[in-house]
Subunit: 340 residues, 2 copies
């Protein structure tokens, strides 16, 4: 389990994780989608060398994983952990992942860009994530010349990343903003101030389990620090709003809220068949119950972990092999009953 | 709690209770709906004397309850226990109930007819019920002359009861006949052979909790024994069908069935607000779970009792006074959590 799942960070009642991602490319080298295999493999070893040779203490901390060496289930697990993107799987022959032991830091090689440095931490820790990603970026830049334009900044495969190449994002659990209908307003306002709101698995996915990813859309014309501060300020406001609504709801309709939370608890503890969608909804209720101190024998970290462990890839990994949907629903229910 | 709820009888996996009811009227006396109060009160004391004086051993066994002496909640409880009918409440000033200690035998006085002898026993015990009701009938007849016509038999207020005046009925729990859709066919066939199928609270009520009351419609042209045998034969067939379908379903779709049963268990154990309708449905699933030995820490008798204890009258009695619907739903959920 990656660091963002194993630990609980600041503001964890609302913020599940913070992520910084930097997009970088090698100078005078075709972008990955136009790369031949030998060139792609050369980039893998150049990035690997840059990280390892740049700082020998990192040698034991980082592992190189070539996408081609993974089986289908392993690939799914990495995607479910948010360590690799589905896009990286499209370039399996030249794609690789460099990841540190606690899986807080990772570098995707030959995804959409040659290099995507990612730092993912539990709770609201955007600045901390930026510091860590920035250090790795500096390390690589000592040995690799990035594609950089004085006027535009870092050049990237997709124009939306040009400039700082930074994507800062936070994963939020917002059950009561959603329940009370205010969330559509939050999404609208976020869009107006240059932030994007997505579901747990990125663009186009639904807001399963009341989980929302909020990230900057603008990468140009602002410094990294400004981008992070902007996102952080908005997130802090959303966190305050969600907290106030939770308390308010619990004061105004305590029995209805308890009823909802305990029913979800009862279903999770007793179901024999459950889809991941239903499980996400019920776990979301349970998280709210833990936040409101209605449920004491489970903690948030367990529930964050459970939200990942019930995904199709994990279920199949834990039960040793690919299985059909009905069997997955059964195994998922078993796993949940054992966990809570 | 009446005997039919406190004990478990034969075929209790399907049959909750058996009931025999005999309608009788006094000769040359207006039917209750045309009775003046003094006449009504005289009938009460005549019936009481006939039972008590006929057999002195019954003196300590029977209690006389005048409907006017009951408060609203007590009246509801007696109706929920099936000891009195809602109709008896309409003639409160002249209505009374004579009931024995274990509440297996009861006599409603001045309901639709002057005398309605009722015997209600747990499980399939129609003949036993008939024997008990018949003995009380004989006892009363020693001192009271019934309205009787040589050609028609016993005369009753409503023509559908003329003849034997007997209504034999059984309360059945038929979750799988209902689930598989066969129940509509059973109801159709029952109608064709002169049996009526009703919900738990009599005519016009829904089949809440998969509970069906089946009774004879014909009271004329057959002996009591024939009527009882006819009903009993049909009930035995229905019981066999329900049992076969339960086993079949469990063999064919074990996980789906377990899922349904355990989800209901989880909801009952955790809900903080619950309507009686929902509770009845969930308890029905639980009964099926007990029948299939999936749930071991509860027994059928507890669940039969629970089906009565969650009714509005009981809830209010236990929590000391009349309360609104929302408060009842809350108290009901509390009571269920304490019980299972």
């Amino acid at each position: 389990m990656p660091k963002w799942l194993k630990e609980i960070g600041p503001d964890s009642d609302v913020v599940i994780s913070s992520r910084i991602r930097l997009a970088r490319n090698l100078e005078a080298t075709p972008f990955p989608q136009s790369l031949k295999e030998p060139q792609g493999r050369e980039i893998i070893s150049r990035v690997y060398d840059a990280v390892i040779e740049g700082n020998s203490s990192l040698k034991n901390d980082f592992s190189l994983i070539e996408i081609n060496s993974l089986n289908r289930l392993e690939k799914m697990n990495y995607v479910e952990n948010n360590l690799i993107s589905p896009d990286l799987l499209k370039h399996s022959d030249i794609g690789a992942l460099l990841v540190n032991n606690d899986e807080a830091l990772s570098i995707m090689i030959n995804e959409e860009d040659h290099i995507r440095i990612q730092c993912m931490l539990p709770g609201l820790q955007l600045s901390e994530g930026w510091d860590m990603a920035n250090r790795i970026d500096d390390l690589i830049e000592e040995r690799i010349k990035y594609a950089y334009n004085e006027r535009l900044g870092y050049l990237t495969s997709c124009p939306t990343n040009v400039g700082t190449g930074i994507r800062a994002s936070v994963m939020l659990h917002l059950p009561v903003l959603n329940m009370t209908g205010y969330m559509s307003n939050v999404i609208k306002i976020a869009g107006q101030i240059g932030l994007a709101v997505r579901g747990i698995h990125g663009e186009g996915t639904e807001f399963t389990g009341n989980i929302y990813q909020i990230s900057n859309q603008i990468t140009l014309g602002m410094t990294e620090e400004e981008i992070i501060k902007n996102l952080q300020d908005v997130v802090r406001q959303i966190v305050q709003q969600e907290r106030a609504l939770r308390e308010n709801l619990y004061v105004e309709r305590p029995v209805e809220l308890e009823d909802r939370i305990f029913r979800s608890y009862g279903l999770l503890k007793n179901a024999r068949l459950i889809t991941s969608n239903e499980a996400m909804k019920l776990i979301s209720d349970l998280k709210l119950g833990v936040n409101l101190k209605l449920i004491a024998d489970i903690n948030l970290q367990q529930l964050n972990e459970l939200m990942i462990m019930i995904q199709a890839g994990y279920i199949q990994k834990q039960f040793g092999g690919e299985i059909g949907e009905h069997e997955r629903d059964k195994k998922r229910a078993e796993l949940i009953r054992r966990s809570i």
